[in-house]
C-alpha cells in the first residue's frame, strides 16, 4: 500500500496563550501528529499576512495562526487585530482557489493543552485528503 500523505504545517503560536497551551499539552504528555512545526510569536497580532503567503509560497501544506481568546490577549487587543487581518487573508486565499482548509486560525489559551491537541489533530486530518499544496508553492 502507498505511503499516506503527511502534510507539512507551519503554526504561528502566540507566546502567552497558544504556545503556553502547547507546552501544557506537552507537560500532560498528550500525543498529536508531528506534522506541525511551531513558530512562537509574541502576539497573534504580530502575524503579518506576508508570513502566511510566504509559508504557502515556500511549500507549506497548511498554515495555522493561534492566539489568546478574545479578551484574554496579553497585549490587551492584539488578537482582535489579528482576527480582522487574517479574516481578509483567508477570504482572499479562498477566492483565488486555495482550499479553505489550508489556512486556519484558532484561539487556544494557556490552559487548553487538550484543545491545542485537538486543533492539530483535526488540522492534520483535514489536510491529508487534500494532498500536497501546489497552488501557491514554488515549483523549484
Amino acid at each position: 500500500m502507498t505511503e499516506e500523505f503527511e502534510p507539512t504545517i507551519v503554526a504561528f503560536l502566540c507566546k502567552w496563550c497558544s504556545s503556553a497551551g502547547s507546552d501544557l499539552a506537552g507537560v500532560s504528555r498528550m500525543e498529536y501528529p508531528p506534522n506541525v512545526t511551531p513558530i512562537q510569536v509574541m502576539c497573534s497580532g504580530s502575524v503579518s499576512p506576508l508570513y502566511v503567503f510566504s509559508a504557502f509560497n515556500r511549500g507549506a501544506d497548511g498554515v495555522l495562526v493561534s492566539g489568546c481568546h478574545p479578551g484574554d490577549c496579553h497585549y490587551i487587543k492584539g488578537n482582535y487585530y489579528a482576527r480582522r487581518k487574517l479574516a481578509l487573508v483567508k477570504k482572499l486565499l479562498e477566492y483565488v482557489g486555495l482550499e479553505p482548509e489550508r489556512f486556519q486560525m484558532s484561539w487556544v489559551s494557556a490552559a487548553e493543552g487538550q484543545k491545542y491537541t485537538r486543533v492539530i489533530k483535526d488540522f492534520v486530518n483535514a489536510l491529508k485528503p487534500l494532498g500536497p499544496q501546489t497552488k501557491l508553492r514554488r515549483n523549484s
Binding site: 507539512t8 507551519v10 507546552d23 507537560v27 509559508a55 487585530y81
Partner: protein, 649 residues
C-alpha cells in the same frame, strides 16, 4: 562568518527517548554559520552550563541555541550562562524540542526531523539577533491606590509601613468601602466596623499616606515607574479646617434624599456626613441635590446657620497632577442591579431586600438601631426567606459566575437574624453550599444545628405580595416537592458585580477586563495580583468576587509586588522593542492606532517608539504596510528565515 553554537539537551530520556539528539546535533553542525553543535544529557545542570560557557570561550561563539525544554523554563538559565561567558544574553535562543516535540510524539523517525527543524529555525533567528542591553528608567518611588475599601486601605498601609509615600484616593466622601456597611463578619462574627475603623484611622493618620476622598482618576499617562496621574478633586463646599462638626447645618437643610450608606433605608440631608465613623469626619454638600448649588431656589440656610463660616458655595472642582511609580487598583464591587432581579420582586416590594440592606438592618448603627424590622411596616419579621445565587450562576439570565461569598454571608444573615428574633424562622434557598475556607463549613453547620436554619435545595419560582405577606413559591429538589412560604421578609444574596465605573477607569489605565467586567490579571495562576499593564496591580473584589480575608491577602500581595518596584532606584525593561526604519516610514500612523501602550507616536512625518512603553508585541509591524516598524530580534526578516527553516529549506 557567523560562529553559532548549538547545544542539544537529552533531558535524560525526556527528549532523547523520542528524539535522536545526536542526529539533530549532527544536522545542525552542517548549518551555515554553525561553528559547533553538540548534545549533552542535562544542559541545565551545572556541568551542562559549564560545557556551554566553555564552548563559547574556546570556540569564540557569537551566538548560541539551546535545544531543550520550553523557553519559559530555562531561557533565563542559559542566557545567564551565555552572559557569564561574555556573550550578550540576547545572543542565546531556545528551541523547544521537549514540550513541543519529544513529549507529544512517539515515533522517533518523525520526531527527530521536527526537532531538527525547530532547532534550525532557532539558529536562523539567533544568527540575526542584535546584542541588546536592558533599558533602564528611574523610578518615582510613590504609590497610588485607587479605592478606599478594605483592600485599598490594606495595600496603602503595607506600602506606607514599608516607608513609601502613598496617595489613597476614594471617590465617595469617606473611606471604608462596603466593609463599613457590614454588621458582623463570618465566620467569627466579630463586628465589622470594630475591626475596620482602626485601619481607617491608621490610614488617615499615617504620615506617609495622603488621603484624597471625594476624588477620581481623570487621566493616566506614562509607564511603569513613571506614571503621571491627573486627579479630579470634587468640591465638598465645606472647609473642613473651619468646620467644628456642630451639625447645625444638617438640621436646617430642607432637602432629604436616600442615604447611600443605608442603601436607601434611611434618608440624609443634602449636606451630610456619610456615617458616624466616616473618615475624614467632615461634611459634604452634594451639589446634585442641594437646592442652592443646583440653583433650584436660593436657599443658603446651611451657610447662614454655620457660625464658623465653613460653608463655601464657590468651591470649584480642582484637577491636580501627581507622579507615581506604581498603581494599585482596588475599586471593589457593587451588588447586581435591582432592575435585573425583577423576577424576585426586588425593587417592587419593600420587603424584598438585598444582602447589604439586611446588613444595615442588623447593624447596631443601622436604620433600625440593630432591631430587625421590615421596611414596609417596621414590624419584626417572623418568617424570613433568604435566596442564594440571586443573579449568580445563571448564564442565561444573569451572571455566569459564582459570587463566592453569598453562601457564607447568607448563613451569617440567617444566624444573626435568629439571634435577634429568637422565635423567628429562617429559610435558605440554595443551589449548592460552597463553604471552602477556614472555619467556614463549621459555620454553616452551626447555622443549621444551633439556629435551626432550614436549608431548601432548589430555586424560587415565584415571589409575590399577598395580604401583607411575601409569598415565596419554590421547589425542594431533595425531597422533590414544591414549597410555599408566607414570608415577612425576603433577603436576596445578590451577585457581586465590578463597581460601577470600573470599566471607564480600566480604559484610562489601559487595563484588560475579563468577560464579566472584572479587572484581568496578568496570569490566572502565576500572576494573580499583577495586571496586564506593568506597574499596575489588582486588589480586592475588583479582580473577582472575594471575601474580606482574601481581599486583604491579595491587597498585601499587590503591595508586596508594588514594593518590588518601589524599592529600586531604576527599573529594567526588556529591550526587544519596536524600532522604526525611518526611510521606509511614511507616517501614515496605522501603527500608532494599533499600539496598546501608546508607545509609538508621530513626530514630524515619521513615527517614533517610546522604548520604555513598548512591550514588543509586534502588532505594529504586522499592521505596517511597508515593514517600516519591526521588533528587535524578531524582525520580519528573522520570521521569514524561520518559516523557511520550519519547511526544511
Amino acid at each position: 562568518m557567523k560562529r553559532t553554537g548549538v547545544f542539544v539537551c537529552h533531558c535524560g530520556l525526556n527528549i532523547a527517548g523520542t528524539v535522536d539528539v545526536r542526529k539533530v546535533a549532527e544536522d545542525m553542525a552542517r548549518e551555515p554559520g554553525v561553528e559547533l553543535s553538540t548534545d549533552y544529557v542535562y544542559m541545565c545542570s551545572d556541568p551542562g552550563q559549564n560545557l556551554i560557557e566553555q564552548a563559547i570561550k574556546d570556540k569564540k561563539l557569537d551566538s548560541i541555541v539551546v535545544a531543550c525544554c520550553s523557553p519559559n523554563l530555562h531561557e533565563t538559565t542559559f542566557r545567564n550562562a551565555a552572559k557569564r561567558a561574555g556573550l550578550n544574553s540576547f545572543k542565546c535562543e531556545i528551541a523547544n524540542i521537549r514540550e513541543q516535540c519529544s513529549w507529544v510524539h512517539k515515533d522517533k523517525a518523525k520526531a527527530t526531523p521536527k526537532a531538527a527543524k525547530l532547532t534550525k529555525s532557532a539558529v536562523r533567528r539567533v544568527q540575526k539577533n542584535e546584542s541588546l542591553e536592558p533599558l533602564s528608567v528611574p523610578v518615582t518611588r510613590r504609590a497610588l491606590v485607587i479605592g478606599g475599601g478594605i483592600a485599598g486601605i490594606q495595600a496603602a498601609l503595607d506600602m506606607a509601613n514599608t516607608g513609601f509615600e502613598v496617595v489613597l484616593i476614594e471617590r465617595s466622601p469617606s473611606i471604608g468601602g462596603h466593609m463599613s456597611q457590614l454588621s458582623e463578619t463570618f465566620p467569627t462574627l466579630d463586628c465589622s466596623q470594630c475591626i475596620l475603623t482602626p485601619k481607617m484611622v491608621e490610614a488617615s493618620k499615617h504620615p506617609k499616606i495622603k488621603l484624597m476622598t471625594y476624588s477620581e482618576v481623570k487621566e493616566v499617562s506614562g509607564y511603569v515607574g513613571n506614571f503621571k496621574v491627573k486627579i479630579l478633586r470634587k468640591p465638598t463646599y465645606v472647609d473642613s479646617a473651619k468646620c467644628n462638626l456642630c451639625d447645625e447645618c444638617t438640621k436646617v437643610c430642607p432637602l432629604v434624599v436616600p442615604n447611600e450608606f443605608d442603601l436607601g433605608l434611611t434618608g440624609r440631608r443634602a449636606i451630610y456626613i456619610p456615617f458616624p465613623q466616616a473618615i475624614p469626619a467632615s461634611y459634604t454638600l452634594d451639589d446634585v441635590n442641594c437646592p442652592e448649588l443646583s440653583q433650584i431656589i436660593a436657599c443658603g440656610k446651611c451657610a447662614d446657620v454655620c457660625k464658623v463660616k465653613a460653608i463655601d458655595y464657590d468651591q470649584k472642582p480642582r484637577i491636580i497632577e501627581e507622579d507615581f511609580g506604581v498603581i494599585v487598583v482596588a475599586t471593589g464591587f457593587d451588588l447586581y442591579d435591582k432592575e435585573m432581579m425583577a423576577e424576585y420582586g426586588y425593587g417592587k416590594y419593600a420587603d424584598v431586600v438585598d444582602g447589604l440592606q439586611f446588613e444595615r438592618m442588623l447593624s447596631a448603627s443601622g436604620p433600625t438601631k440593630g432591631k430587625v424590622l421590615r421596611p414596609s411596616d417596621q414590624k419584626e419579621p417572623k418568617e424570613v426567606v433568604f435566596i442564594q445565587c440571586s443573579g449568580s450562576r445563571d448564564p442565561e439570565q444573569h451572571c455566569a459566575y459564582c459570587s463566592k461569598i453569598c453562601c457564607m454571608y447568607t448563613a451569617k444573615h440567617a444566624m444573626l437574624y435568629k439571634h435577634h428574633v429568637h422565635d423567628g424562622q429562617a429559610y435558605i434557598f440554595y443551589i449548592d453550599i460552597r463553604s471552602g475556607g477556614k472555619g467556614y463549613e463549621e459555620f454553616v453547620q452551626r447555622a443549621v444545628e444551633e439556629d435551626g436554619v432550614i436549608y431548601l435545595r432548589g430555586k424560587v419560582s415565584r415571589i409575590f405580595e399577598e395580604n401583607g405577606k411575601i409569598k415565596v413559591w419554590g421547589v425542594d429538589t431533595l425531597i422533590g416537592k414544591s414549597i410555599e412560604i408566607d414570608a415577612d421578609l425576603v433577603v436576596l444574596a445578590q451577585a457581586m458585580r465590578p463597581s460601577k465605573g470600573a470599566d471607564e477607569l480600566a480604559k484610562k489605565l489601559k487595563l484588560g477586563l475579563d468577560k464579566d467586567g472584572f479587572l484581568a490579571e496578568a496570569h490566572p495562576k502565576l500572576r494573580p495580583v499583577e495586571s496586564v499593564t506593568a506597574g499596575m496591580f489588582l486588589a480586592g473584589a475588583a479582580q473577582a468576587p472575594k471575601d474580606i480575608p482574601e481581599a486583604v491577602g491579595q491587597a498585601s500581595g499587590a503591595a508586596a509586588k508594588a514594593i518590588m518596584i518601589l524599592s529600586q532606584e531604576r527599573l529594567f525593561h526588556s529591550p526587544t522593542v519596536a524600532k522604526v526604519v525611518k526611510n521606509l516610514c511614511t507616517g501614515c500612523g496605522m501603527c500608532v492606532a494599533v499600539c496598546p501602550y501608546d508607545a509609538v507616536a508621530l513626530k514630524d512625518g515619521k513615527v517614533e517608539v517610546n522604548e520604555v512603553l513598548c512591550e514588543g508585541c509586534g502588532t505594529c509591524s504586522a499592521t505596517c504596510l511597508r515593514a517600516a516598524i519591526q521588533v528587535k530580534n524578531f524582525s520580519q526578516h528573522q520570521v521569514h528565515e524561520m518559516i523557511q527553516a520550519c519547511l526544511g529549506g
